[in-house]
Each structure stands twice: as C-alpha cells, then as structure tokens.
C-alpha cells in the first residue's frame, strides 16, 4: 500500500543527472575598459506598486553566463504604522532582497542575511538624500529591490577572486540605486534629483587584460594570477575600468561604487574597497576611482532619463496630449 498523500519516487533507483559545469567558459572581454554595458530599463511594470522599474544588463555571448537583473518597486507615501513614533517628514525605507535563484551555483535562503542588510542600508542612504521627504509628513515611502539574477560572486566564502576585490556586490548596489531612482520618479514622488549608480575599478595594466597591449596571451586563471604578481613586482601602470563585471576576468585591485545626482553634482553614496597605493597615501587613486565611478553614473543617468521620459510620453499619448505638447520636440530634453 503506497502512501497516497505523498509523491512517491520510482520503485527502482535512479541516477542523479550530471550537468555540465557552466563555469568553464573563458572570460571574453569585448568592450573597451571605459565602455559601459548597455542597460535595459523600463518603468511601471509592477501594477500594484505606486512606481516600479526593471533593470537588466544584456546577456553576454554565452547565455549561461549570469547577468544583472533586478526590479524595484516603490510604495507610498502611505501612513506610518501605528507603532512608530512621530515623524514630521516622510520615512524612506529601502530593502534589497536576493531571490533564492539569483546567485549562480547555489541557492540563497529566504531569510535576510548580513549581505542583504548591508546593501539595504547602503541603498537607503543613497536614496533618502534625493527624495524631498519634507513634502510628505507623517508618512512612509517603502522601496523594495528584488535581485532576480546577479552576476558573479557576492563576496561570500568560497567566492575568492584570486587576490582581486569582488565587484559583484558593487554592481548590484549601483544597479539597485539606478533602478530604485527610476521607480521613485515613476511613482511621482517629489525628489531633488535622480540618483544614478556607477562603478569603477582599478586594474593593473598588463598583457591580456587590456587588449591593446598584447594579443593572444592565454587567459587561464593560473596565468592570470602569476601575471598579476609579476605586474606588481614590475610596478606597471594602473588602468581604470568603468562598470567592471565579475565575468570580465579582470583582477581588480580597488573598486568604488557611487550614487551620483548628476543635475546637482552631488554624491549620495561612496563605497570603496580594495587596497591601493603602497607608495604614497593613495589619494590620487581614490580620486581617480571616484571620478571614474561618477563618469559611469553620469552615463547611467542618461538611461534613467530616457526611461522616465519614455513612460511620461506614453502617458501623454494615452490622454491624447502628445500631439500638441511633445510633437516634434521629442529629443529636446537636455540635462545640464
């Protein structure tokens, strides 16, 4: 008598399927170090939310390579829960959550872990300076970012990147900032400026990584490490990479992520990591990193602007205002 309340396995044993490991692909760097990846950003895709946005970086040549996909939804302004104390301004909370299937290789738990808590705090810091919280007294604005697919490791144990710093989390934070800011604009919440996230990294310039130097040098991981160590000894020049991806195969010495409000020229978040500058105090390198990240964020800002504008024009078209208002002036929006 079989147990009818359970799904029983087959009577005979089975052999577990063996999958090919996807991590055997060689990193292929096709773009130049200062070129950003293309960004797909669309707003108003989550109907129940006040405002929402979806951000995706393009899938690389190998479809099994992970990329960055995340959604942001904004709820509010809504009344504060009765347990909270009085607040004359709006209270902005941001929460970043990784989906269980988001990390390649292993599943994540549902319970909020330290990484998520840390990223949520950073996201909240980056966003709250941009929102005009004084306009919404006694209310809460909640931002939820859900990471659907995240490229590369997250700095967890076992994700060691052979001596370099891990930029996966920085990419996630930068993407989350941009996506959440687009969602806030989509919600129509008054904000001083939109925040765009940008990442830059410093790599040691050597053959194989910066393609102009040498062509055809092997990209085996072992050679990478030895090459990096040789490079350190030889103290070669240091190159700046914008929007580095963990799948690019760079060995990044230091990296910075910023939240940048382009129209106001203000930074809302700076996150640096890595070690630089054994000679000197490293100020130049930090400056170079942050400037690079700002340059990346400025380019991302253009994408956010386009996404917000696209939604606005769609709304105008729906109510039939598009002809008289924005008819021939489509490309006229210039941010300075």
């Amino acid at each position: 008598m079989t147990d009818r309340r359970r799904i029983n396995g087959p009577a005979e044993g089975t052999t577990p399927p063996v999958f090919l490991t996807s991590s055997t692909h060689k990193p292929v760097i096709k773009r130049s170090p200062t070129t950003l990846r293309k960004i797909f950003l669309k707003t108003s895709l989550t109907p129940p939310a006040t405002g929402s946005a979806f951000l995706e970086l393009p899938t690389p040549s190998n479809p099994s390579t992970p990329t960055l996909k995340l959604t942001a939804s904004v709820y509010g302004p809504r009344p504060l829960p009765s347990s909270t104390t009085f607040s004359p301004d709006a209270r902005l909370t941001a929460e970043l959550k990784f989906s269980p299937f988001s990390t390649p290789g292993h599943r994540r738990g549902y319970i909020r872990d330290g990484v998520e808590r840390d990223l949520s705090a950073q996201l909240s810091i980056a966003l709250e300076k941009s929102v005009d919280v004084g306009k919404y007294p006694k209310s809460a604005i909640d931002v939820f970012v859900s990471v659907l697919d995240c490229e590369g490791g997250l700095g967890d144990a076992g994700d060691g990147n052979d001596g370099g710093v891990e930029v996966g989390l920085m990419g996630v934070v930068a993407g989350a900032i941009s996506c959440a800011s687009a969602a806030i604009a989509d919600a129509g919440i008054e904000c001083f400026d939109l925040v765009a996230g940008g990442v830059a990294g410093l790599i040691r310039e050597r053959g194989g990584v910066v393609e102009e130097d040498h062509v055809g040098e092997g990209m085996e991981a072992g050679e990478d490490i030895s090459g990096a160590r040789h490079g350190e000894k030889k103290n070669r020049g240091i190159a700046l990479v914008l929007d580095p991806s963990p799948t690019d195969g760079y060995i990044i010495l230091a990296a910075a992520a910023v939240g940048y409000m382009a129209a106001r020229d203000e930074l809302t978040l700076v996150w640096t990591k890595g070690s630089m500058g054994r000679e000197g105090d490293g100020t130049d390198e930090v400056e170079r990193l942050v400037d690079g990240a700002i340059a990346a964020a400025t380019s991302v800002r253009l994408v956010i602007n386009e996404a917000v504008k696209e939604r606005l024009l769609l709304g105008l078209k729906e109510i039939g205002l598009i002809k008289e208002k924005a008819g021939g002036n489509d490309g006229d929006i210039v941010m300075e």
Partner: protein
C-alpha cells in the same frame, strides 16, 4: 504673453527650469540654492511644466485615470491630508468621546476629490462635531468630514465637522433597538436627524447640509 524664459516641453526630476528671483516655485518644483548668489527652480517630478501668470512654475503629471482611460490601469494619486482639506471618511470605531474614522478620499486645494491609495486614520472629537450635539451623535456608516483643523499627533489626523456643509452624507439605519430593521438607507430630515426611507424611524446624526 511673452515668455522670457522658455520652459522645456517635458521636465524630469532635477532639471533646472528657471532662475528663482523672477519666478516662484509651485507644485512639482522646488527651489535649489546652488550658491548664496543664485537660486534656481528645478523640477522635482516628471511632467509638463506650466508657467502661471503670477510667475510661478508648476509641473503636472499626466493622469490617464482622469479622462476616459479604459485601457490603462488606474494610477493612484499621491495625496496626503493637509490643513483645510476636505475629506470623505468612513466611521470605524465609536466611543463616547470620539469617533475614529478612516479617510479614503480627499480634496486638496482646488483639485477635485481624489481617492487615496491608502487610508489614513482620523479622529473626530466630541467637541469638534457641533457645540450642541456633543456626545449624542450617532455616526454609523459614512461621514463627510472636513477641515482638518490640525495635523494631529503621530498617527491621527484630527477632523472637524463644525460647519453646515460638513457631516454625514451616507448612512444606513441600524439603531440598537431595532437590529432586525438595520441596513436601510437614511435620508436627511434636518441638520441633526435622518429618517429611514422604509420604516420612517428617525435617528440622530450630524447631517451635512441637506440639499
């Protein structure tokens, strides 16, 4: 009217619109002080900028829900109760001293009444109902309350119905004596009484000005 400072057809958050000294900021914009000598009006929401005759600049969002939108989904309005806004609220709890209400629609400024996305909790204290009918007012189904006289404490909005035009607009019978007859709509007789359309039972209410 000549426009010395042409506005862009569409404004995005953070976009500078006009220098501040001649122009003033209205809804959807705010004044950004770049340095002590120059202040500038920037957009704070995405929308269409308008220049008003009083040199104020406002930005309106297109709202597809307001005009014949059968295809687009309803976009909720971002509304918060302010002092002097008129609201529609449903009574949720009663005691001798106050009525707790749930604000679900409000009218802010000159705009039309809009349904809020979330309800806000409000309180009508006995002394704010009417000077003569302090605690006797039975507020049962729906209330037209208005004039938020104060923004209240940490979570409540204090409301007042101390005006002829404010009070109950929709009510259903259901006095404690006649439970079986409950549920019929009431119509107003005078400013303090409403009668059931079917049974003619008169109940006490603070009625909004009968038409």
């Amino acid at each position: 009217m000549s426009q010395p400072h042409p506005l862009p057809p569409i404004a995005l958050p953070g976009q500078p619109l006009a220098p501040s000294p001649p122009y003033t900021s209205s809804t959807g914009t705010h004044i950004h002080t770049q340095n002590p000598t120059s202040t500038i009006i920037t957009a704070s929401i995405a929308g269409i900028p308008h220049l008003h005759p009083d040199m104020s600049i406002s930005i309106t969002r297109p709202s597809p829900s307001s005009s014949s939108s059968s295809t687009s989904h309803h976009r909720p309005l971002l509304l918060l109760p302010e002092v002097t806004s008129t609201v529609l609220a449903r009574v949720t709890r009663l005691n001798l001293r106050q009525a707790t209400v749930e604000i679900f629609a409000m009218q802010a400024g000159a705009e039309e009444m809009g349904v809020c996305e979330h309800t806000f909790q409000g309180i009508i204290r006995g002394q704010d109902v009417r000077a003569t009918e302090k605690d006797r007012v039975k507020i049962l189904e729906s209330f037209r309350v208005g004039d938020v006289i104060s923004l209240g404490d940490q979570s409540n909005y204090y409301l007042s119905t101390a005006s002829n035009s404010l009070g109950v607009v929709v009510a259903h019978s259901g006095g404690e004596l006649r439970v079986t007859d409950a549920g019929d709509p009431l119509h107003p007789i005078n400013w303090r009484q409403m009668a059931c359309a079917r049974t003619g039972v008169v109940e006490d209410r603070k009625v909004a000005k009968p038409i």
